[in-house]
Amino acid sequence: MNKVYNNRAWWLILPMLLLVAFSAIIPLMTVVNYSVQDVFDAHTRFFTGTEWFVKMLNDPMLQGALLRQFAFSLTILAIEVPLGIGIALLMPKRGWQASVVLILVTMPLLIPWNVVGSIWQLFTRGDIGLMGWSLRELGYGYNITASPVDAWATIILMDVWHWTPLIALLCYSGLRSIPDAYYQAARIDRASKWSVFRYIQLPKLTNVLVIGVLLRFMHSFMIYAEPFVLTGGGPGSSTTFLSQSLTTMAIGQQDLGPSAAFSLIYFLIILLVTWVFYTAIMNMQKDDNKGA
């Protein structure tokens, strides 16, 4: 076969490049631009190099927020993933019950973030909130504005309520795509319930779980509206996560240089964690003994 080489074909990727430039590269570059300069006004600016980055990495407030952020993301993943799988396994497979349960499970996903925050804010109030009032009546001095433990528990509970359905739905669709023959073969092989889960269902769920975990990690790492509405980051700074710290710095204090540096670090952390996770999972699926 004669392959025709025509370098003019490179022009065909131009529209795509333009699109990506406007949607990602140019906005990102403006952030890069701010992160290496100290801007006073339209005419006065100083090049600062890596100064902002060093400053941000050594800032105890941001370090605290970063640690809290990781603690939060890992906690909700550790709860939502097993819980989501469990719910998916229990959901009815067919008939009208399946439709009803699907709708009920999907409901929390349809509620906007700040509305979720408001709902939980009301729900946890000690005077009129169902949960807050009930806990108090039961003798527990529940108060999210005073107790960091209560605030944390509530934020985690809220996130679990809001986002476990996503994992459950993904897993449900994954489970539905397993052909009946697998279950029949397992019965004939006398596999226990646990073996069916471990060797059939879980492996078939790997792909949807990778998507689910990545989505939930990125999402939770950027969480903003819900804790902001619920606790405002308090008590103290106990529930102040990265994006809220960033907002305070960029909008509240107009510290554009440090905020830009911080944004880039934030972005790179998400990118790095996502990449490490994805690569690890993909490597696990490879044959350790190719063709041997």
């Binding site: 029949q184 006398r190 226990s192 073996s195 078939k204 190719k290 063709g291 041997a292």
Partner: protein, 366 residues
């Protein structure tokens, strides 16, 4: 190892079956003897897979009994029937190695690891999987995966029977031959009862000693491949077995002669008497294309036909002829001259079958 008996078995997927059409399997009796190699042959939707699932216990029949060695097993789940089943699409445990896949049924039965190893190595050897044992099953090709599926059925040496549900559908044609031979070899070696479901007559006749042909939820004939070919019990078996299928002509008698439509058929008196005796209107004469004699010149008892066209299939040709508007197919061997325009056909009387209401009837003796 067991003899499997189906006693007045019937199955319907609907809750309140009324019509015979509601039944996936209509009431039937059948025995699969210990150690036989059987095929269950029939078109899609004739109830083959339903029957297989009833035997393995994945499905509980709505009527009748399934007996293993005379013991009713209707309510026993597959794991207690000790049966192995290989499905149409390979079922493997993705995350396990080939070795662990093969060992899985044994380990589930708490077999000592030394025995597991021995059995896995033996089965891997038979299936030529020894070199693949350490690979992840997920990364195998389709035919290797299907071999692993089969291997899991073979690894237990005490199974009552192995059921195959069109296991070679996903396999390349060349490999099909190889795997089928392998299965026969395994059957000879282990003498396990095997029931092989297929819709491919060639597959059925190369694998099985006895074939059960199913049609609309019933076994219409159970016999050797040769019996199915030479004396089909039912018009469906005539159509389905052979390529092309059997010729069937609606026949009647008038004034001591046999007619199909307006065309007179020159056949034996016994055929005439057989038709005359039948009480039904649905009387068909059946003859295989292979058994029709084709002549270039007029012969005694030869019926003149118009040759529509001929299909050359290399070693033989199929002649499509019209006898007074009724189309007939006849096979002409390579060394014979294929007629054009006109030919004379003769129906050897010992090769003619008479079918009343689709079932074969014996011709009266002279």
């Amino acid at each position: 190892m067991a003899e499997i008996t189906l006693k007045s078995l019937a199955h319907s997927y609907s809750k309140n079956p009324a019509e015979p059409q509601d039944y996936a399997i209509r009431e039937m009796n059948h025995v699969w003897h210990q150690g036989g190699a059987y095929a269950l042959l029939g078109p899609s939707g004739c109830g083959k897979s339903t029957m297989l699932n009833i035997i393995s216990g994945l499905l509980e029949p709505s009527n009748g009994e399934v007996l293993f060695d005379g013991k009713v097993v209707n309510s026993l789940p597959p794991e207690e029937r000790n049966i192995a089943q290989v499905f149409q699409f390979p079922v493997i445990y993705d995350t396990m190695t080939v070795y662990d896949n093969l060992a899985f049924p044994l380990r589930n039965m708490k077999t000592p690891e030394a025995r597991v190893h021995e059995r896995v190595m033996e089965v891997a050897d038979v299936l030529e999987l020894t070199s693949q044992l350490k690979r992840k099953a997920k990364n195998l090709s389709a035919d290797e995966k299907q071999k692993v599926s089969m291997g899991r059925g073979l690894v237990r040496d005490d199974v009552s029977a192995i059921l195959f549900d069109e296991p070679l559908t996903v396999i390349d044609p060349q490999l099909k031959w190889k795997l089928r031979r392998k299965l026969k070899e395994i059957h000879h070696r282990f003498r396990i009862t095997m029931v092989y479901v297929t819709h491919d007559q060639l597959e059925a006749s190369t694998f099985a000693d006895m074939i059960a042909v199913m049609y609309e939820g019933q076994v219409v004939q159970f016999g050797t491949p040769r019996e199915l070919f030479e004396t089909p019990n039912h018009t469906f078996v005539g159509y389905f077995i052979g390529s092309p299928g059997m010729n069937f002509l609606d026949v009647t008698v008038r004034d001591g002669k046999v007619f199909s439509g307006e065309a007179q058929l020159l056949v034996d008196n016994r055929v005439h008497d057989g038709i005359a005796r039948a009480t039904s209107d649905n009387v068909k004469l059946g003859i295989r294309p292979e058994f029709i004699e084709v002549h270039q010149e007029p012969v005694e008892d030869g019926m003149e036909v118009k040759v529509e066209h001929a299909q050359d299939l290399g070693t033989y040709s199929i002649v499509y002829a019209s006898l007074g508007g009724i189309s007939l197919k006849a096979r002409v061997e390579e060394d014979q001259i294929t007629p054009v325009d006109k030919a004379w056909l003769r129906f050897p009387s010992e090769k003619i079958g008479l079918y009343v209401d689709d079932y074969r009837v014996e011709l009266p003796h002279e």
